[in-house]
Structures are given as structure tokens and as C-alpha cells.
């Protein structure tokens, strides 16, 4: 049985049988991989306490031909993103990222760029002052990396540039002023600001991340649009997104100090 080693981020864990876990990882070279971790729920498990959602580590595993699940042999931690876990919004945001990756990526297909994107975004989430721009940039970049990016540079129907644009989930991109009238239902208005931020999110250089600003109204418009689009792609509601929304409404108002990323 061949033994493999790879960097990995834990995306999800499901309790299995008495003390085992089925863990889904994101790896650079083989993308999304699900594996059986025997005894992972025991306190003195050989995996240590680190086989937890959103930990980054080195995964050692067996992969038997014809089996769907890999066999997790070892997982050594590199980053636990502790600060992220210790904040309700950041923790929920991290889990939301994991849900998007889980929903969008196929199994066992190399995804080195998506891996880097998730790793960097988790790090930004625990360090950054504002979490909302970080989430929007991730959502936009993940669409491009996974091949599901909508067309936003010009009209999907005629290639034209006549503003104001609308956005059609069904057509997979923006629709110009002229084509809007002939396109049936489901076209929502989209502002210039949204399209400008979209472009910016894709072009942004690493060192400029901290300086990105996203004004509240624009953020809400972008957030709604992306949520709508992801829901269409996944064919279901994004549960962690709904939970984040609930936290914003229910919790943010309870404390005097403003919670990060609740604008």
C-alpha cells in the first residue's frame, strides 16, 4: 500500500462509528480528499488533538486503489489558526470558506492555487482588521480558480459595454442595458462599484491586502450578489453564510464595541 505525504488543510470532520472520524482535506497536489482517521476522537489519539477543522498540517496517508477514502496515518500540525478560533465571527467566517471550497471543488483534482488561496485567507482572517473585504476577495478568487467565474468585463449576450449593467445568474455574468430588456426574469441590478471592486480583487498584489477598503453599502451589494451566485452554483443554501448573517443580526447588536466584519 503506497504511503503519501502532503500539506493539507482540514475542511470538515464527521464523527464516524464509536471513536473514528471521516475527515475531508484540501491538499495542493490532489485537491479535495476524504479519509478515515481511526480513533481520532479519543483523547489520547495518535493524531493528537489537531485533526480539527481549519488546521493546516502535514498529512501522511495510505491510498488504496479502488477505495474512495484514504487512510489517515498521521497529521502533524503546522498552523492551528488559534486567533481565528477564539473569535466568534472569524471562526464562523473560516468555516464559511471551508463550506465554499467543499461545495465547489471536485475530489482528487490538483488544486495548488486554491490551496494557497485558502491558506493565505485563513491567515488574513486571523490577522486582518476588517474581515468583510477578505471574504469578498476570497469568494471572487475562488470562482476564478474553480472555473466558475461569471463574465463581468462585458455583456454575456452581445459583448457590449452599454451601462447600466444587470447581473444574470442563469446567463453567468453581466448583461448590458440593451440586452436587459430582452432577457427574461432573474436579472438584478449591479453597480459600477461592484464591478470595479471585482476587477480590483483579482488584480490585487499581496502586500496591498491590508489597505483594501470596502464601504458598507457596496459590501452588502457585493455580498448579496455573490451569495446569490454561489447558491445557484451549489444548488442549495450555504449554511455557514446563513449562520454568519444570523450572528450579524443577533450578536453584533448585543455588545457595545463594534465586532469586526459586521458592517
Amino acid at each position: 500500500m503506497p504511503l503519501y505525504s502532503s500539506e493539507a488543510i482540514v475542511l470538515r470532520k464527521i464523527d464516524y462509528r464509536d471513536a473514528d472520524r471521516i475527515v475531508t482535506f484540501l491538499t495542493p497536489d490532489r485537491g479535495k480528499l476524504a479519509g478515515l482517521a481511526r480513533g481520532a476522537r479519543r483523547l489520547k489519539s495518535r493524531f493528537g488533538p489537531y485533526l480539527e477543522t481549519l488546521t493546516h498540517g502535514t498529512l501522511i496517508y495510505y491510498d488504496r486503489e479502488g477505495k474512495n477514502l484514504i487512510h489517515v496515518n498521521h497529521f502533524d500540525i503546522l498552523h492551528s489558526f488559534r486567533k481565528l478560533r477564539e473569535d466568534l465571527f472569524r471562526s464562523a467566517s473560516g468555516q464559511y470558506l471551508a463550506e465554499l471550497v467543499l461545495g465547489l471543488l471536485p475530489e482528487r483534482e490538483a488544486a495548488p492555487e486554491t490551496f494557497q488561496l485558502l491558506l493565505q485567507t485563513l491567515d488574513r482572517l486571523q490577522k486582518g482588521v476588517e474581515t468583510e473585504p477578505i471574504l469578498r476577495i476570497f469568494e471572487i478568487r475562488l470562482l476564478v480558480l474553480s472555473g466558475f467565474a461569471p463574465r463581468v468585463e462585458s455583456c454575456v449576450r452581445c459583448g457590449g459595454q452599454a451601462a447600466p449593467f444587470g447581473f444574470s445568474v442563469e446567463q453567468g455574468g453581466v448583461v448590458c442595458r440593451d440586452c436587459r430588456s430582452s432577457t427574461v426574469a432573474g436579472v438584478r441590478p449591479v453597480s459600477r462599484g461592484v464591478l470595479r471592486f471585482w476587477e480590483q480583487a483579482l488584480a490585487l498584489k499581496e502586500e496591498r491586502f491590508d489597505r483594501v477598503r470596502l464601504e458598507g453599502k457596496l459590501n452588502r451589494e457585493l455580498r448579496d450578489l455573490l451569495h446569490h451566485y454561489y447558491r445557484h452554483l451549489l444548488g442549495r443554501e450555504i449554511r455557514s453564510f446563513v449562520f454568519l448573517e444570523r450572528l450579524r443580526k443577533e450578536i453584533a447588536g448585543l455588545t457595545p464595541q463594534r465586532e469586526n466584519g459586521t458592517q
Binding site: R12, I14, R17, D18, A19, R41, R42, L43, G48, P49, Y50, L51, E52, T53, L54, S80, R85, E86, D87, L88, S91, A92, Q95, Y96, A98, E99, L102, R239, S240, V242, F243, R246, L247, E250, I251, L254, T255
Partner: protein, 199 residues
Amino acid sequence: MEASSLNRLIEELKRLPGIGTKTAQRLAFFLMKVPKERALGLARAIEEVKEKVRFCRRCGNLSENDLCGICSDSRRDAALICVVQEAMDVLAIDRMGEYRGVFHVLHGALSPIDNIGPDELNLRPLMERLEETEVREVILATNPTIEGEATAMYLARLIHAKRGIKVSRIAHGIPMGGHLEYADEVTLSKALEGRREIQ
């Protein structure tokens, strides 16, 4: 030999957690060989549990009555509530014999991706308890997993917003990713002792 009833027993045993085919076969053969009274005793015990045991109206713990043994024990400090994820955790903490407060069982932890949000947990009864009774301190003893931590942070916010109840979190004698039910008594006792207040 026609042994379909034996096969049925093996199949039923295999559905139990931690029981594979081999163990199921061994147990089934054992039950076949023991005196009838002993085997039927097991069957009756299962039947009784299923008929009698339900959740305590106040705390969500397992109980044969409307209120569980802990909630109806007047020597217990009802102003100190320890919040846990599962009824198994009540057993684990009570086994130490040091904790004199009462409990609240959530029956899970927040895990949006698994469709477990605040409404899926036994939360509302806890908030009602805090309204209706005099509570001094709430100890959040959810597991030190990402879900358990999120649940503790969420609860801390809700309780702080309501009124001036002290909210504390058990110390991390239990490593991240661990489950309370697997912790030994010394670890658990230290975790409770070393709890810190959440501001």
C-alpha cells in the same frame, strides 16, 4: 441448520457503535449459550430504558422522571449551571464527585455546515432558566473543538447581554479537539477548577 434468528441478532448487534462483524458474532454466540433468564434480563433492560428514559424538562439530562435526579436534588447549588454538549458529559463530570452545581445539556454544538444552528440546540430552555431562576454563574463546558468553542463564545454573548451573570469557560486541561466524555477524572477536575471568567 436454519439460523435466521441468530443472523438477525448478529445484524442488530452490528449496528451498535464500536461493534464489528467479529464482535457481533461472538456476542451473539455468547447470548445463545447463557441461561435464558440472563439473556432475557438484557432484553428487558433495553425495553425498560426505551420506555422510561426521556429528557429532563429543565436541563435536558437523561431522566426517568419529569425532572432528573440532579435537578430534583435540593442539596445541589441551583445557582451554578454547568453547560455541556451531551448527557454523557454530565456523567463524566458527576463521576468526579466534586461538582455540586446543576447542569444544562445542549445536545450538540454549533456546526452550521452540518445544519446545526442555534435553533437545533437545547438553548431556549437555558435562556428561560436564566430568566426564571437566580443564577450566579454559568460554566461553559462544551468541548474544546472549533464547534464547542464557537458554541461557548455564542452563549457567552447571549448571557452577558441578558444580565450580570458570571460566565466562565473550563480550562484547557482538555486539549483542543478532545471530547469531554473521553477525559479522565483528574483532567476534568483540573479543567473545572481552572475555569476562567469570560468578560
